[in-house]
């Protein structure tokens, strides 16, 4: 129900003698035309351009209605046009607009694919250079901090440690426990077939402590804390907070990047220990139920099956992964430009890159430590 009802737009054709007359009445506005736009288009299409057009009955005309007619008239006023004075400016504006065109987005050309590949290559190159520059800047600012005995961002580091370390414990425990259970259950099925039940300790111990624990925790942390770091620094870039810091003469690298990097590096070793321990516990529970292996036996057999070097390798890997995740997250956060698209793109890039880097570095570790801590 509308308290005011506007006259609907209408087209009538008057063929009575001589030039056919087209009579338009009602409101030619977007609001009234839009619901039945197709019908009006059709009606207009049926009329020849060189009629005499009578707009005397048009009560209102906005630029949408005018443009509809203007396009029909092939961008000029037709010869026998009857136009009320009030509507003249609308067409005057259209006439002023001329025949120009908006610039067109170039379409897809033959070599665009090749160009795209090249662009990706150079983008990666730029990212590598930028990443190295970030590390360099961090080192310079850190050295400056050491030399001048400036303000150490202890509070920020501790806050970050709590956020990325302590707060990540529940989710790490949950995922670790479940992975431990599943791994133990699947291995137990196979081992029982060979009567090699007791080797479950070796498989779980070595697999989780040396390999699975650090990587699993790193992937979780990259998704949880890495994305948060990128988004936080990114939003600070958007709101010019980082520029404000720099303008006060405070290095954003020392105040923002350093605490995050230090905190995550420090937090990842204990977090890996925690994650691996819970995963082993899950495996132990599952082995107990599936193979009737007592907890006692499991705990006693573990040190014999897994030399302590493996634990050091695992925790070391965790710390290195933490360092890399924080650096990658901060790098992408600082690259954010002030628009929503850039923020989401960089957060995605941050998570994908840090997980990829973690797995690549894990492979390097595997090769470098292949003769340490493994039973011969």
């Amino acid at each position: 129900m509308r308290p005011e009802s506007r006259p609907c737009p209408e087209i009538r054709l008057d063929d009575g003698g001589g030039l056919p007359r087209v009579i338009l009445t009602g409101d030619w506005t977007l609001r009234l035309l839009q619901p039945e736009l197709g019908r009006f288009r059709q009606q207009l299409d049926q009329v020849a351009v060189d009629c005499s057009w009578d707009l005397g009955g048009v009560s209102r005309l906005d630029s949408f209605g005018a443009l509809l007619l203007w396009r029909k008239w092939e961008r000029r006023r037709p010869a026998g046009l009857v136009l009320p004075e009030g509507l003249d400016p609308v067409f005057a504006r259209l006439a002023e607009l001329g025949d120009g065109e908006l610039p067109v987005e170039p379409g897809y050309r033959f070599l665009d694919g090749t160009e795209g590949v090249g662009r990706i290559f150079f983008k990666m190159l730029r990212n590598v250079v930028g990443f190295v520059a970030l590390i360099g800047q961090l080192a310079i600012d850190f050295a400056h901090l050491l030399r001048t005995r400036g303000h150490w961002p202890m509070l920020e580091t501790s806050a970050n440690f709590y956020k990325v370390g302590v707060r990540a414990m529940p989710v790490t425990a949950l995922v670790g426990f479940l992975i431990g259970v599943v791994l133990s259950y699947l291995s137990a099925l196979q081992l029982r077939a060979f009567g090699a039940d007791v080797f479950i300790v070796n498989i779980l111990g070595l697999g989780i402590i040396r390999e699975l624990g650090p990587v699993l925790v790193a992937v979780l942390v990259a998704g949880r804390s890495g994305s948060a770091m990128t988004a936080q620094i990114g939003v600070m870039r958007v709101t010019e907070e980082i520029d404000a810091l720099a303008a006060m003469g405070i290095s954003p690298y020392v105040r923002l990047v350093l605490p995050k990097v230090v905190a995550l590096t420090l937090a990842m070793a204990p977090l890996t220990l925690w994650g691996s321990a819970v995963a082993l516990f899950g495996g132990m529970v599952s082995a107990n139920l599936q193979l009737d292996l007592s907890f006692d036996y499991f705990v006693n057999a573990l040190p014999r099956a897994v030399p302590v070097a493996n634990l050091i390798i695992g925790l070391g890997k965790g710390a290195v992964f933490g360092l890399l995740i924080a650096l990658v997250a901060c790098y992408f956060g600082l690259r954010v430009k002030p628009n929503t698209e850039s923020l989401s793109a960089n957060t995605t890039a941050s998570v994908v890159t840090s997980i990829t880097v973690v797995i690549l570095v894990d492979a390097v570790f595997a090769i470098a430590t292949r003769s340490i801590g493994l039973p011969r």
Partner: protein
């Protein structure tokens, strides 16, 4: 035609323990440019946001085009919303879309998909806000502050609104750009017969644009009328607001924008 595109009756707003509005009555007559002025925190922008239904008042009614804002089915509410355009303080352009896509967005949304027609419409709107057609492919991040406002105005005008709401139209523009923008709004107001409601701090803008002024203070409309009458009103707030030397100079400057 209803006489008042915007009507506010007995509007009260409370944020937590603070009352922002304590009974506001305001009717904006058709074809007028009404400026809401008042000190910081007097709830001008809140009132504007309530007029378009972004915020709901604690008590009282807002009517647009003679109907309560939230009356009727979804379709009717939607149609009511399409009859006004709003210019946000910082433009609020969609930063993921180009200028062309930003202006075309509301048109595409109501089902105009004819690409040639869209291009002509966008070109017309950009010409109306005195922008070159070349900016069409630029992204909002690549525009200056004044251009962002112009593009935002073009987007607000895309659906041929009868009512235009402006939140601080000249904030953040330099004096030259700001008087250019004021001239533009005035020309559009004349050409399109719009009703305009604006919120401003800027006395230049006020003097140049407003045909009526509503002064908001202490949660009420202290006075509503043409600027010359408002200045005569005996009230401590109005005297402080309009009678300082700075204010007088700004008003004189605003009147000079021709």
């Amino acid at each position: 035609m209803n006489d008042c595109p915007v009507e506010v009756r007995g509007l009260e707003t409370r944020f937590g323990q603070t009352w922002v509005h304590r009974g506001i009555d305001l009717a904006v007559p058709v074809g007028e440019v009404v400026a809401l002025v008042g000190g910081s925190g007097s709830g001008k922008t809140t009132l504007l946001r309530q007029m378009v239904g972004l915020l709901r008042p604690t008590a009282g009614d807002v009517s647009l085009f003679g109907e309560p804002l939230f009356a009727g089915s979804r379709a009717e509410q939607l149609e009511r919303r399409r009859r006004f355009g709003m210019l946000f303080q910082h433009g609020a352009l969609f930063s993921a879309l180009s200028v062309f896509a930003n202006v075309a967005f509301p048109l595409r949304e109501i089902g105009i998909t004819d690409e040639a027609m869209l291009r002509d419409l966008v070109r017309l709107k950009l010409a109306m806000v005195e922008l070159d057609a070349d900016v069409a492919l630029r992204m909002p991040a690549e525009l200056s502050g004044g251009m962002v406002k112009r593009v935002a105005l073009a987007r607000a005008l895309a659906l041929e609104p009868e009512l235009l709401l402006l939140d601080e139209p000249t904030a953040g523009l330099d004096p030259d750009r700001s008087s250019g923008f004021v001239r533009l709004i005035r020309a559009l107001h004349r050409a399109l017969g719009l009703t305009v409601v604006l919120v401003t701090h800027d006395l230049d803008t006020l003097a140049a644009l407003a045909s009526r002024v509503a002064v908001l203070a202490e949660g009420r409309i202290l006075a509503f009328g043409p600027l010359d009458e408002i200045i005569q009103v005996q009230d401590p707030f109005i005297e402080r607001f309009f009678h300082s030397d700075r204010a007088q100079a700004a008003l004189a400057r605003g009147r000079g924008i021709g």
